[in-house]
């Protein structure tokens, strides 16, 4: 019996689910009769079919409480609040993304390089530089490489009392205080621009210059 059950039970079950006793073929009937009578077969078939009906009806109404998922997710976070650093690094290297996502990222990077970055390329622009002395403004046009910025303001310097002022920022004047006419070039860095004052303002005769005093103008040269 045990051996017959082992071998034929799946087939017996299948017949129970699909056929009434009266619909069985001769070979099927002889196999079924090894396990049960006609009456038992009918009862067992009824049990299996009724059980299916019960399940189908109950599954429409029996559902888990929606709060369960929320509670579980809330419980999940604190448990893993401090991930192992080694695991995190390992996961970064093991992280897999589909090939199409990688291709999209590469294409986006290339587009960024060709279409966006050129607008920030370094170009040589002509910038007016205004040097203010007492009663006099001198304008120099310089060629200076810098990032292309629209409507960039001209650079304004004001020199007064050995102080070079740029747009209200005061920077220390490193020029020499000697009266030497051949003073070395003094470099003044103002926001990345090297300004060489070839001759000192102090070498001038007195405060105030006029446009008529050519020699004073010649002395004063701002090299950028």
């Amino acid at each position: 019996m045990e051996e017959q059950l082992n071998n034929n039970f799946p087939e017996y079950e299948k017949l129970l689910k699909t056929k009434d006793y009266g619909m069985l073929s001769d070979s099927e009937r002889s196999m079924v009769n090894r396990f049960s009578t006609e009456e038992e077969y009918s009862r067992i078939r009824k049990i299996i079919l009724s059980n299916s009906e019960i399940i189908n009806e109950e599954k429409k109404t029996v559902e888990p409480d929606p709060e369960i998922l929320k509670n579980l997710i809330r419980a999940m976070k604190p448990v893993r609040a401090s991930p192992d650093a080694y695991k995190v690094v390992k996961n970064i290297f093991e992280y897999k993304i589909p090939a199409y996502q990688f291709a999209l990222l590469a294409a986006a990077s290339i587009l960024l390089f060709f279409f966006i970055l050129p607008s920030e390329r370094i170009v040589t622009v002509q910038k007016p530089v205004y040097v203010y002395k007492t009663d006099t403004i001198e304008k120099f046009i310089v060629n200076k490489p810098e990032p292309k910025v629209q409507n960039s303001a001209p650079i304004n310097y004001a020199i007064k009392d050995n102080q070079v002022t740029l747009n209200n920022h005061t920077t220390p004047d490193k020029s020499q205080t000697s009266n030497d006419n051949n003073s070395s070039l003094n470099k003044l860095e103002i926001l990345g621009i090297n300004v060489d004052i070839k001759d000192k303002i102090e070498n001038s005769k007195s405060k105030g210059w006029s446009m008529l005093d050519d020699s004073s103008l010649v002395k004063f040269l701002v090299k950028i």
Binding site: S50, I55, P64, I97
Partner: protein
């Protein structure tokens, strides 16, 4: 967004790996796949008790999170989950009597069945009520085997793995359970004969 991980196509075992890395989306996907099934399994095993089924469902998924590291990747996830659920039910049976809830009580005797009206709907309903009653009175092993086979529709092999027994044992238990139920519900022979008459 293009780069958000999608878990719908991931296997259960892959989702378990992601859950180990605190991926709540993976956990949600796994819950959506098995939450309702497991809940109904508990509902049937614990005497049609909805509240208990909710509690047990929450507990089992908490174990999925906490025991993630002890999950054997070689084992099919569904088998592991049902084995966990079965053990929880076994413990519950040991510690408290599982009573059938929310089933109408219908006491039947030989006289009652003789006088019963042959309204098919009423007879079928009573048959189902008593079937549930008899199922609930089975011992835990036979009931588990019956529920896993005819409710969860698992294979003999899967049931054998869950219950940690041989496939032959599963078949024997199923056969014995069917015969016992048939014996207990013998009084409803008239219902069966009427159904057979109607189908002919």
């Amino acid at each position: 967004m293009v780069f958000i991980k999608k878990h719908r196509n991931s296997s259960d075992e892959e989702l378990m790996l992601h859950i180990g890395n605190n991926d709540t989306k993976a956990f949600e996907e796994l819950y959506n796949r098995y939450g309702k099934k497991i809940h109904y399994y508990f509902f049937k095993m614990l005497g049609n008790d909805k509240e208990k089924a909710n509690d047990f469902t929450q507990d089992i998924f908490l174990k999925v999170i906490e025991k993630n590291s002890s999950y054997n990747k070689c084992l099919k996830f569904s088998t592991w989950l049902y084995a966990l659920a079965t053990n929880m039910c076994r413990n519950e049976y040991k510690h408290s009597e599982v009573k059938l809830k929310h089933i109408e009580e219908y006491k039947y005797t030989a006289e009652t069945t003789y006088n019963i009206s042959f309204d098919t709907h009423y007879d079928n309903k009573n048959f189902k009520i008593n079937l549930e009653k008899e199922l609930n009175e089975l011992d835990i092993n036979h009931k588990t085997t019956f529920v896993l086979r005819y409710q969860e529709e698992l294979s003999i092999k899967e049931i054998a793995e869950i219950m940690e027994c041989a496939e032959g044992t599963v078949k024997s238990r199923l056969f014995y359970t069917l015969q016992k139920l048939a014996q207990k519900l013998k009084v409803f022979n008239q219902v069966i004969e009427k159904d057979l008459w109607k189908s002919n």
